[in-house]
Symmetry: C2
Subunit: 129 residues, 2 copies
DNA sequence: TAAACATATGAACATTTATTCATATGAAGA
DNA sequence: TCTTCATATGAATAAATGTTCATATGTTTA
């Protein structure tokens, strides 16, 4: 987790006492606490995963991982309403997980960067253990 | 996404027609559809990410990624109620993302496998782009 | 065995979230 | 310009989720 930098300047004072249970771990805990990523970082991280934490969105992302396509293609591929797809695409767009361009009447969506693909694959690998 | 096998035997008939918009993509869509992972697979996948899609759980997992620790250590490290931590640990345990053992009065929790760590790191990398 | 500590859990509550339905916007073609 | 197709969006609703509070369970020690 070396990528996690510590941007939290107003970090809380470390308690000088520790409950009995983990007495021997105090130093370890203190060290971890000093390097804890800040609240905002955790929020961003969970926000990212939250986007992947819905069947419809994960399907959409999987579909797009195969190549860019328009909304009606997605609607046909998955068994989801056009409206539902559109709503979810908006969320994915806001989260910058997908991008889109207009082509005539169509809106062509695609995965915005390779990380998304990688994370999905990791997830897939995990669940098939 | 080669890890995604197709376990869905009762797959829907492919529509023979396609709306005008993506006419030229028909073959691509058909090919993608044939290889779509099944519903259950998508459910499992989104379920996994859902577990990572909450600030408290992500914090807990981050803490545990630094080493095993007991509940009260986690409570101290994060700024969360003992009850909230316990509830979330139960979910994480159900999802097999963490495991635990008892040590006297304490319950020592730890990350159940390396994938979790890897996925977290990927996520971190993504949000700091 | 009684008290203290560590953790777990059920119920209640407030919030968030995803879908649906109806409709609006926007682009292309007749 | 009128119609049609493709997509977007607002409001409403139902369901899922996370926290809190109170309390239960389980373990150690006096």
């Amino acid at each position: 987790m070396s990528e996690m930098s510590n941007r939290d300047d107003e970090k809380q004072e470390l308690k000088t006492e520790h409950s009995e249970c983990g007495g021997k771990y105090i130093d370890m805990i203190k060290k971890i606490d000093d390097n804890m990523p800040c609240e905002e970082e955790f929020l961003d991280l969970s926000e990212l995963f939250k986007m992947l934490g819905d069947p419809t969105r994960v399907k959409i992302l999987y579909a797009l991982s195969q190549g860019e396509m328009c909304v009606c293609d997605i609607v046909e591929l998955l068994d989801v309403t056009q409206s539902a797809v559109s709503h979810q695409l908006r969320l994915l767009k806001q989260a910058r997980l997908v991008k889109y361009r207009r082509n005539g009447k169509s809106a062509i969506y695609s995965i915005s960067d390779d990380h998304v693909y990688t994370i999905l694959s990791m997830g897939m690998e995990h669940i098939s253990e």
